[in-house]
């Protein structure tokens, strides 16, 4: 996740907020409304990836390199059929401190 901070806001405040969001996702599945919103986002991302022969060629080529081009036509169906509990389990399994890296860009006044 990335964030551009409003001047005067410290990184710690944003990180604490992010940690609270992640913690909540690990503890309880997303709501039905959130899931529907996420499905819409995923469908929109997918639509951009399929827009025109150039984008389709990029997608097919990249997936072939990744090793699973054949899975692509059904991939979006698998994504949108994920349950809220699946999302919670994914957050619990992967959004963990021991696999996390945080990089802060701290702007300074010119010397």
């Amino acid at each position: 996740m990335s964030a551009t901070l409003i001047p005067g806001v410290r990184h710690g405040a944003v990180e604490r907020k992010l940690e609270a969001i992640v913690e909540k996702l690990r503890d309880a599945p997303p709501t039905v409304k959130e899931m529907e919103r996420a499905r819409e986002l995923v469908r929109a991302w997918n639509r951009y990836e399929e827009d025109g022969v150039t984008a389709q060629g990029f997608m097919i080529g990249q997936l072939e390199v990744l090793g699973s081009r054949e899975a692509f036509p059904h991939f979006i169906d698998r994504v949108v059929s994920v349950s809220p509990e699946d999302v919670r389990k994914a957050a619990e399994a992967y959004l963990v401190d021991r696999a996390r890296t945080t990089v802060r860009y701290l702007s300074e006044a010119p010397a």
């Binding site: 996740m1 990335s2 964030a3 409003i6 907020k17 909540k24 060629g57 990744l66 990089v103 300074e108």
Partner: protein
């Protein structure tokens, strides 16, 4: 040497074999086509989008530069300035500096440690012969994927592919070394300090490879974080904290409980005509 593949990309637009310098424009742009190339962490890609009746032209171009790029020494030296300038231009962007630090901090062993653009000291010292040897070793039909999309006749297309690519000799590829990032043992943090007026933050988590059964749930998780939950970042302690935020998931080729991150590797894209 970091940055080799990206530098090759620059050289493959400069002719060689039956392609003269400037032929790409003559052959493709003048029939209403467009072309470009870009280099990412797991692949380098070249493409033409061209009217279907000119499919043969695109296949000719790609087969020719797959093995016969000239790598003229003068052109190579001139391109050193271009590649270094491209890197220096990126260094003016906080997002680039943070991305470079993210991959460098998250991956200690795996080549995801560095970005496709490469380190400046490598770009300053790399020789034409080193980059040419890299090109000859890896740019071969048995190490490439050819994708055709569009409204062409499939049988004719296959015949044309055979015409242009069958004569290309395969290369003896070195056995594919599998880099495995050791398990991360704890949270990692890094700061980047530069003159400027805006602060920026990235947080990444390692993810499994693309074919892993958890990937669909992770994509939905990214959607949830990029939806209302993510917007929650805009209200922190009763006031706005961020002007913009995003969540992304990328799942590159190699496995990764040893090799992946929650942020998309930036491609090295070069604007071309």
């Amino acid at each position: 040497m970091t940055g080799s593949t990206h530098w090759v990309e620059h050289m493959l637009f400069k002719g060689g074999g039956k392609l003269g310098k400037g032929d790409l424009d003559r052959l493709i742009s003048r029939v209403g086509g467009k072309y470009n190339g870009f280099t990412d962490k797991d692949w380098t890609m070249y493409y033409e989008t061209i009217p279907a009746e000119h499919l043969e032209t695109a296949l000719f171009v790609e087969s020719e530069r797959m093995r016969n790029a000239a790598f003229d020494p003068k052109e190579f030296d001139a391109e050193r300035t271009v590649v270094i300038s491209e890197r220096e231009g990126s260094e003016n962007q906080p997002e680039f500096l943070v991305e470079e630090e993210m991959w460098g901090t998250a991956f200690h062993v795996h080549p995801y440690h560095w970005l496709p653009i490469g380190y400046k000291q490598d770009l300053a010292e790399m020789t034409r012969d080193e980059v040419y040897a890299w090109y000859r070793r890896w740019y071969a039909p048995n190490n490439a994927v050819l994708v055709l999309v569009g409204g062409f006749d499939a049988d004719r297309a296959v015949a044309l592919v055979r015409k242009y690519f069958d004569p290309l000799q395969p290369e003896s590829l070195p056995s594919s070394r599998r880099f495995v990032e050791p398990p991360q043992m704890g949270r990692r943090d890094a700061d980047v300090r530069r003159p400027g007026e805006v602060d920026y933050l990235e947080v990444g988590w390692k993810l499994p490879e693309w074919a892993h059964p958890d990937i669909p749930a992770i994509v939905m998780l990214t959607g949830v974080l990029g939806g209302w939950r993510g917007f929650g970042l805009a209200g922190s302690g009763g006031r706005t904290a961020c002007t913009g935020g995003s969540s992304r998931a990328a799942s590159p080729r190699t496995s990764a409980r040893g090799s992946n991150s929650g942020s998309t590797p930036p491609s090295s894209r070069c604007p071309r005509p």
